[in-house]
Amino acid sequence: MIYTSLKFLIFYFIVVFLYYYFIKPMHRSYYLLFTSSVYYILYSSKYFLLLLCVLFVTFAFAYYIDKYKYDDHIKKWFLCTYLILIIFFLVVFKYNKLLNILFSVGVFEEKVLPLGISFYVFTAISYIVDIYSDKEKKESNALIFATHLMLFTKIAAGPIVKASDLIPQLKEEILFNKELFRKGYFRVIYGFGLKLIIADRAAIIINSIYDNFKSYNGLYLFVAACLYSIQIYCDFAGYSYIAIGLSNILGLEIKTNFNRPYLAQNAKDFWKRWHISLSTWLRDYIYIPLGGSRKGGARKKINIMITMLVSGVWHGNTLNYIVWGIFHGLWQILCPVKNSNSLIHRFLRVATNFIAITFGWVFFRMVNIYDAFYILFSIVDIRKWQYNIKITSLGLDRENIMLLICTIVLLFVIEYICEKKGSVLNKVIRLPGICRYFFIVTLVSLILLFGIWGPAYDSASFIYVDF
């Protein structure tokens, strides 16, 4: 049940209705646990027991690490054992293809990825490590912990939420918060707009070109690459807005996962804005434990490379993701960090940054590494570009292309306004009632009219659900 499906929307509406009309505030956490279990079983019943195993093992190890918190040796033993177990579990399910190659065919059967495995494993690891480092208190209520790990609004593809951010909210009475509720539904609507109007529309052109990339010259491939940068952002940010919005509607605050990443002026800035929950996790549990920037310049660069390599490997079990990780590692090391105040310089930095990110995304999109290099070399060889581009031959008619361009421009305008003047959302939720309702009805109507949905289209899942 992906979030953009009618089945999920009906499921969610029933959940919210019962939540606010029949469930007492002090019991709402437990109700969320029940609904999260139902959701997981409906989506991926085969792997529900696995999720419960991770839950049980994590809870048990948290208990023992906390019990022996004054005995460093035993505490470390428990931590290492847990990490080995949980990483082994992740590797078996996520990297079975690679294991098949390394350890002979047929030893590890190809499996469909359990829903949200990468995300809930990382959530569990962050919980255990934080308890070990004394940054987090062990949660004694197993059901509350289970709700935190399994919450259905974020289990599919994150955000990766720290226990310290969510568990306190779950332990208290969850009351109706009008402002949060409004933010929630606006985020959900915005997320749907990004996904259905921009991401899925761009995908039509991108797939036309990339499915047959050798037939297209560098200019087409450059257009596809740029559009893919937009697609992956709108797809994933769209998902995140929906996930966070759905949580907000239920009265839960979850930190933002994207902060206008394509307005970043350099690599470091980009990674503070893109998939914030993952980059924060990587910083806190890989980069800093390795020493961060505290052990000299050379070691810092090595730590960055390792961190980005882990990020690449986390995304997938094929070589292209590893290359993508290496690319971002190198880019962070080599890219100057200084920001600029001059408008033109800022624009040039942002544009250069966008091109660099776009080149990196080519590795992300093309599973075959040679195809990715072919595309990049074709793009770079500007002498072979042919400028008689027939964009209407790529699956979209003229009107749809105009709509795509206008919505992408609108997206950047909104993001620029937010960058300069603060969140637009805070202003929108304070509109007078009738204006707000008119705004909602208009936005939803436009999404229904212009969105890429319905039986004429292949129901496109979110890209990051596959991780």
Partner: protein
């Protein structure tokens, strides 16, 4: 607190209703107008004709109500459709009877041995037959009966689901389609194709087998009987194999069982159909304007000779 919850609930319901209304309005604009243009009049009850013609594209192309109307003064309407199976014809009739009270229903025999409820490989044909039917309990019953897949049912109940992507194709026709000639439901094709005449088996040679189409034909007959409507079974000629004509001939059994007339036009030499001139260029399944006029005149004469109008 309870009052606040109640108000929130009301606001939500109000917004959903407003959104549904907007979707229906938008749907009315972006919807493909073919069905509404050709079949809209019958489901809106604009004409209330005395005779309805049901069947596949053989009927759609082969019977011109306007010719019958002008020659014999019989108000009629063509409710045929592309690959319209007997099941679909049955439900079109059910919905048509909401606003019409015909005296006679004419049913063509083509695909009488077919087991499908609708053209599975081309849903557009089913849309042509049914989009013009307004949303109602009978439309819901029709969709529920014909279709298994819930997403398909949704598409046929709320065509906006499939037509919203037409926003980029909207043109003037979408707003003044009703001004265009609809030929009382018939499609006029003036192209000419040359074919060989059908080899006719003996009229009493027939192939009859149990089929879904036969079941729905019986439902049409029973429905008409319940509503005091006469039924006339026909076979419109087309470029056919011997086997197909024998299948059409089996309508005689249905007619006999139900005490109905069966007008098998394959064997009426007075029609004087010319297989080198009276069929369309694209297929020998469809009559062109010349052929359709001949069939319509013959049919009109038969109706006048056998029914009181």
């Amino acid at each position: 607190m309870k009052r606040e919850k109640f108000i929130y609930c009301l606001k939500f319901i109000a917004m959903v209703i407003i959104l549904l209304a907007i979707c229906i309005a938008m749907g009315g604009v972006v919807e493909d107008k073919s069905s509404k243009r050709y079949k809209g009049d019958i489901y809106l009850g604009t004409n209330n004709p005395d005779v309805l013609y049901l069947g596949t594209s053989h009927v759609l192309y082969g019977i011109y109500p306007e010719v019958i109307d002008s020659e014999y003064n019989i108000e009629s309407y063509n409710v045929g459709g592309y690959a319209q199976r007997m099941a679909t014809s049955y439900w079109c009739l059910v919905n048509a009877l909401e606003k019409n009270s015909p005296k006679l229903v004419v049913v063509d025999s083509y695909s009488i041995n077919d087991d499908s409820l609708y053209p599975v490989d081309d849903k557009d044909f089913l849309h042509f037959s049914t989009d013009a039917i307004p949303l109602s309990y009978n439309k819901w019953r029709m969709v529920d009966d014909l279709l298994d897949d819930s997403s398909l049912k949704f598409e046929f109940l709320f065509p906006f689901v499939i037509y919203h992507s037409r926003w980029s194709d909207i043109n003037r026709y979408d707003f003044d389609y009703y001004k265009y000639e609809n030929n009382k439901g018939a499609i006029v094709d003036e192209t000419v194709g040359e074919y060989e005449a059908a080899v006719l088996p003996l009229q009493d040679e027939l192939i009859s087998q149990e089929s879904v189409s036969r079941k729905y034909l019986q439902k049409i007959i029973d429905l008409c009987e319940d509503n005091n409507i006469d039924v006339l079974l026909i076979s419109i000629p087309f470029v056919a194999s011997e086997e197909t004509i024998k299948e059409s001939n089996s309508m005689a059994l249905v007619a006999s069982k139900n005490n109905l007339n069966f007008y098998n036009m394959f064997y009426d030499e007075k029609i004087d159909l010319d297989y080198t001139k009276d069929f369309t260029e694209s297929t020998g399944q469809h009559l062109n304007s010349e052929g359709a006029k001949k069939i319509s005149l013959a049919l009109g004469q038969y109706i006048v000779d056998n029914y009181d109008f």
